[in-house]
């Protein structure tokens, strides 16, 4: 009886840990996205400070490619939107994972209790 519970407990624990790792990964991805968001915001503001007389370049690999100022502004804007969308996606993902981990936690605690009881009974009987 106790062994069965123990095995169940173990599997649940593994699943829970896996879920936790996923949560952490999503968290770090989201943080990266946040950093990119702030950076792109700064780029957008600085582009607004320039005028069309300055030439704008984009670094693609080892090459600096000339870009039009307006084009650059549009590109940066689009990138910003993309980043925002990604952040939203990750938010939802994180929420889901949180919920699942909650469920797992509950299951784990109940299993633990059972296990304790199973442990306690044999001791009492003896």
């Amino acid at each position: 009886m106790a062994e069965v519970i123990q095995k169940k407990l173990q599997s649940e624990l593994d699943k829970y840990q896996q879920l936790q790792k996923d949560v952490n990964k999503s968290m770090s991805a989201r943080q990266k996205l946040e950093a990119q968001l702030t950076e792109n915001n700064i780029v957008k503001e600085e582009l607004n400070l320039l005028d069309s007389q300055n030439t704008v370049y984009k670094l693609i690999g080892p090459v600096l490619v000339k870009q039009d100022l307006d084009e650059a502004k549009a590109t940066v804007g689009k990138r910003l939107e993309y980043i925002n969308g990604e952040i939203q996606r990750y938010e939802n993902l994180l929420k889901d994972m949180e919920r699942k981990s909650e469920q797992h936690r509950e299951v784990l605690s109940s299993l633990q209790q059972e296990y304790q009881r199973a442990q306690g009974h044999p001791v009492g009987k003896v």
């Binding site: 990119q36 950076e39 792109n40 700064i42 780029v43 503001e45 600085e46 582009l47 400070l49 320039l50 300055n54 030439t55 704008v56 370049y57 984009k58 670094l59 693609i60 600096l64 870009q67 650059a72 940066v76 990138r79």
Partner: protein, 503 residues
């Protein structure tokens, strides 16, 4: 089995306190970690800011020359001499693989813009650090509190009588700066001096009669204001409480203190603590940080409030209400005076014990038609012969006579009557030889009062008066019978008398 349970119980208790201690330690650790992190980040951002500043300096000096002779780094280990040309043309990294060609000045603007961001980050970090520092301090204080050490003392007041919580009508919330409605406030119950219900039904008395009560009334109103404000901070939108621990709470709002008095937030707790106060209570319960075990490990001060004599609010009709207490007592005194003979408007007060400024006004009361009326100014009398003290100021005869008449009439109110009180010069005994009478008639002063300056010195005058009082009553009792015939000669001013004498 019972022994087993006992064994479990005792270690359990010890374990719990250990857990608490460990918890507190852990909390402190976390706080310290956050604070350290913040410090590290602040260091980093400060460096960045300094770098940007040196960059700005370079940008400003760069276009000074057309070209610079420099040692150009050639690989990681070598330099070679070279020239720096096109000193105004810069390629600036805007972030995220975007570059822009700008002049030095434009680059300068960009750098300024970036510095702004850095500054914002620095400010945020500073704020977080301070916040967490406060939290750490708070936990330390809390620990001290639970341990019973430190300077924290629990002050408690047991409320016996629930009736005394509100005095009269409960005040309605009103706009912060508007004057409260002047309602009649009926007396709730009799005080220990035994004032009757007659005091409760009071009509509108004229201002003149009740001016003397103004100071006391204002004091009472202020206290009520404070209490009401504390009760209804929401409605008034004012945060006027000044207890320091409440301010602390506002800062460390995330930490909830679980004292038996504190429910959810300090507003409700202040409310309940106010409701626990008795009427006329001048205590503001200090919102100390309570320990979790309801203060059983704290030194406790038990406080009990003595009930003040009930005061009655009277609407004087001119934005003031005065409180007139011990009315019955004065009535009794008035009755006694009546029996002794008609006095000239000065009531003889037997209760000369003066313990508060209010008592002064109580003592110096005119008697008009048998009614004790608070005198406006204790420096003045209604009639001339009430002058007792010698007058050492130089003034014209006319003024002098005027003043004598006005003596005892006007209010010795704080701001209103500077000129009046300067007029309230005590007068010499009239040379007609009725000095003992004048002494006896006017109980305010029996000594010499030198009056040269306005109101502020009226207060020392008041202090001169009381010691003389105990001697007055006996004289008055003696001379009351002989007052009437003496009135006429007394009405003469000293100057007039001298003039007549000279004639």
């Amino acid at each position: 089995m019972t022994s087993f349970h006992d064994q479990m119980a005792a270690p359990g208790k010890v374990k719990r306190s250990n857990d608490l201690l460990r918890g507190v330690e852990r909390l402190k650790e976390e706080h310290r970690k956050v604070v350290k992190d913040c410090r590290g980040q602040i260091e980093h951002w400060k460096k960045v800011e300094k770098d940007y500043e040196s960059l700005q300096d370079r940008l400003r000096t760069l276009p000074d020359k057309l070209s610079y002779d420099i040692m150009v780094p050639f690989g990681p280990l070598a330099f070679m001499p070279g020239k720096l040309v096109h000193t105004n043309e810069l390629t600036v990294l805007l972030g995220d693989n975007w570059f822009a060609k700008c002049s030095a000045k434009q680059a300068d603007t960009l750098v300024e813009h970036r510095k702004k961001h850095v500054k914002n980050a620095l400010d945020d970090l500073q704020k977080t650090m301070k916040n967490f520092q406060n939290r750490a301090d708070f936990t330390v204080d809390l620990e001290k509190l639970t341990g019973g050490t430190g300077d924290f003392v629990d002050i408690r007041e047991e409320v016996v009588n629930e009736e005394e919580v509100t005095k009269g009508k409960h005040r309605l919330a009103h706009k912060p700066n508007s004057k409260p409605k002047q309602d009649y406030v009926l007396k709730l119950k009799e005080n220990n001096k035994g004032e009757g219900d007659e005091g409760s039904k009071r009509g509108v008395l004229s201002e003149e009669e009740l001016w003397a009560r103004l100071d006391e009334l204002e004091r009472q109103e202020e206290l009520q204001d404070e209490r009401c404000r504390l009760d209804s901070t929401d409605t008034n939108g004012e945060d006027t409480t000044s207890s320091s621990s409440e301010e602390e709470k506002a800062e460390s709002d995330s930490v909830q203190v679980n004292g038996h008095r504190k429910e959810n937030g300090w507003v409700s707790s202040s409310h309940t603590s106010q409701m626990n106060g008795t009427n006329g209570s001048y205590l503001e319960e200090v919102e100390e940080e309570d320990c979790e075990e309801t203060g059983n490990s704290l030194p406790t001060i038990y406080f009990s409030h003595t009930v003040e004599p009930k005061k009655v609010r009277i609407n004087t009709g001119k934005n003031t209400t005065l409180k007139f207490s011990e009315r019955k007592e004065q009535k009794e005194q008035a009755k006694r005076k009546k029996k002794n003979g008609k006095s000239n408007g000065h009531s003889l007060l037997e209760n000369y014990k003066i313990t508060s400024p209010a008592d002064i006004y109580r003592v110096f009361v005119d008697l008009v038609n048998g009614e004790p009326i608070p005198r406006k100014s204790i420096l003045k009398s209604r009639s001339r012969e009430n002058s007792v003290c010698s007058d050492t100021s130089e003034s014209s005869t006319a003024d002098f006579e005027e003043r004598r008449v006005a003596f005892g009439r006007s209010l010795s109110h704080d701001d209103a009557t500077h000129s009046d009180t300067s007029d309230g010069i005590t007068e010499e005994d009239s040379p007609t030889g009725s000095s003992p009478h004048t002494n006896g008639r006017f109980e305010a002063f029996t000594g010499t009062v030198i009056e040269k300056d306005p109101l502020p010195s009226s207060i020392p005058h008041l202090t001169i008066a009381p010691p003389a009082l105990p001697t007055i009553p006996e004289r008055k009792l003696e001379e009351v019978g002989t007052e009437m015939p003496q009135e006429a000669p007394k009405r003469m001013s000293k100057f007039k008398a001298t003039r007549l004498h000279h004639k």
